[in-house]
């Protein structure tokens, strides 16, 4: 998606933040904003038309995850899915339960767990991670206590791209039937096998806008028999697990976006991985730049770095001047003036995470775009380093 504006290319490398709606997804959604506007709970033909569309999307999601349609709950986003998973499972137990949570989760998991901890609703064990951000399944096992009810480890870390050993943790937890296993799979849907039977998870969260679907719709897989209390009260929608009139157009969009992922996954994965490797190889040619996250156990679309002697937000602003979009985990970009909790958990000092840079690719990324970034980035870093105190 490069369009020429004077001599500047526009290069979007922030797909891990959000992706553009696929035109085929939009096309599938449009009738549900217009003529097919019915409420899926209504008995008349308008309602039944909407109900059918929701059911169809649910079947698509269920096939994709290899689960039953009764096990899919549509939500408003992954943040809601993750809150429902952690808070819902916690609330469903009588006494104060114990949760095991990785320290590199997205803020919505992290803060939901902290909230439960701070309000005395749950005890939380925060897992360690290694320098690549990897969770050791052995640490999950060691953390299990009498009252443990849930372990939550994300599938792909959104900041550094490290792929966590979910299937391995899932296998280990098979021996612990009273411990549910939740994974936030937001960054994994497009690129990794999300078969919940293979992964051995009881709960899995996703969000449509990360894979060319619309914003405002997500899903939570809840394995049949999981004890969980709904967090949004009201009507009986979503098998009684999530009250509120269905976002029919959004749900249709999520379903269509999953279909497109299924149809193109094999080609997309290799193409994006090759481009990512071209990008990583080129960026690492710049002196004093290091890769963050694991070099092999890494999602195909995420390249992340620490740039010594240049600050992340400044790099982003300069890249933006060249028409390039990226993101950073530096304290200056966080809005709360704290360095990324992910980089900190990986043992990276605040000085180094000050120069954090993430570039995330998507199915529209081209080789020309990567080469353009590789041409523009080195002088930007050099320029910022020249300005810095020696």
């Amino acid at each position: 998606m490069n369009c020429a504006i004077t001599n500047t290319m526009k290069v979007y490398l922030d797909y891990a933040a959000t992706s553009p709606l696929d035109p085929q997804v939009l096309e599938a959604m449009l009738p549900y904003f217009k003529e097919k506007f019915g409420n899926a709970s209504s008995i008349h033909s308008w309602g039944q038309e909407a109900r059918e569309a929701v059911d169809e999307a649910r079947e698509t999601a269920a096939n994709f995850l290899n689960c039953g349609t009764q096990e899919i709950i549509f939500t408003s986003c992954a943040t809601e899915s993750n809150n429902l998973a952690l808070k819902g499972v916690t609330e469903s137990t009588g006494k104060v339960p114990h949760l095991i949570v990785s320290p590199i989760e997205h803020h919505c998991v992290l803060d939901a767990a902290k909230h439960l901890e701070e309000t005395g609703a749950a005890e939380v064990t925060w897992l360690p991670v290694d320098q690549y951000g990897l969770v050791d399944p052995g640490d999950v096992e060691k953390s299990i206590k009498e009252n443990t009810i849930l372990a939550s480890v994300m599938f792909v870390n959104n900041e550094v791209g490290t792929v966590e050993p979910i299937a391995e943790i899932g296998r280990m937890l098979k021996k612990e039937p009273k411990v549910y296993f939740h994974t936030d799979a937001v960054q994994a849907i497009q690129y990794l096998d999300c078969d919940v039977q293979e992964l051995g998870v009881d709960l899995l969260s996703m969000s449509a806008h990360k894979f060319y679907g619309p914003k405002g719709v997500g899903a939570l897989y809840i394995k049949k028999g999981t004890s969980i209390t709904r967090q949004q009260d009201g009507g009986g929608q979503e098998h009684g697990m999530r009250a509120g009139t269905e976002n029919v157009a959004g749900i249709v969009g999520l379903g269509r976006a999953i279909e497109l992922v299924v149809n193109s996954q094999s080609q997309t994965v290799n193409r994006v991985r090759n481009l990512r490797d071209r990008l990583i190889g080129g960026v690492l040619q710049i002196p004093d730049v290091k890769l963050t996250g694991h070099s092999e156990k890494r999602a195909p679309h995420i390249a992340s770095f620490m740039v010594a002697g240049a600050e992340g937000e400044s790099i982003l602003l300069m890249l933006n001047e060249e028409g390039i979009a990226g993101s950073s985990g530096s304290a200056c970009t966080s809005g709360i003036l704290e360095p990324s909790h992910v980089l900190t958990a990986m043992g990276i000092s605040p000085e180094l995470s000050h120069g954090s840079l993430r570039l995330s690719l998507g199915k529209q990324t081209t080789e020309d775009e990567i080469d353009y970034v590789l041409e523009k980035l080195p002088p930007i870093i050099e320029g910022l380093r020249k300005m810095a105190p020696k």
Binding site: E313, A331, C332, M387, A388, P389
Partner: protein
């Protein structure tokens, strides 16, 4: 205001004034301040001259490792004290720098403090040499 940074901040960020250093000397003061909150570092060099018996900022240079706001405030603050009597430069406030930049996002206001502190530290360093 819908954009994160004002046009003025972006303009100073893209074309920062007074970047560089001044060699050590009796008429030079150097102040370096690190921001413990976000990790930014700013180093200000002032060269003091005398005009009608009054000390003034004859030249000023700055080196900054930091975000857009930190770089823009370095640039604006140095512009604001260049040529000014030392006593006046010393009185430069965060608020004055923020206003000159047409405002800073709330979360970035601490960056302006860095510039004012580094200027004060440079003046103190110079005075220590007299």
């Amino acid at each position: 205001m819908s954009q994160f940074y004002s046009d003025k901040v972006l303009e100073h960020f893209k074309n920062p004034r007074n970047i560089g250093s001044i060699p050590e000397g009796d008429d030079v003061g150097i102040g370096q301040i690190g921001n413990p909150v976000c990790g930014d570092i700013m180093k200000i060099f002032i060269k003091v001259g005398k005009r009608d018996g009054v000390e003034y900022v004859e030249d000023v240079k700055v080196q900054t490792l930091g975000c857009g706001a930190a770089i823009a405030t370095s640039s604006m603050a140095t512009e604001m004290i260049k040529g000014k009597p030392l006593a006046e430069a010393e009185e430069l406030t965060n608020q004055a720098v923020v206003e000159a930049l047409d405002g800073l996002p709330e979360v970035k206001k601490h960056c302006s403090a860095l510039a004012a502190q580094a200027i004060k530290a440079a003046i103190e360093d110079y005075r220590g040499k007299c």
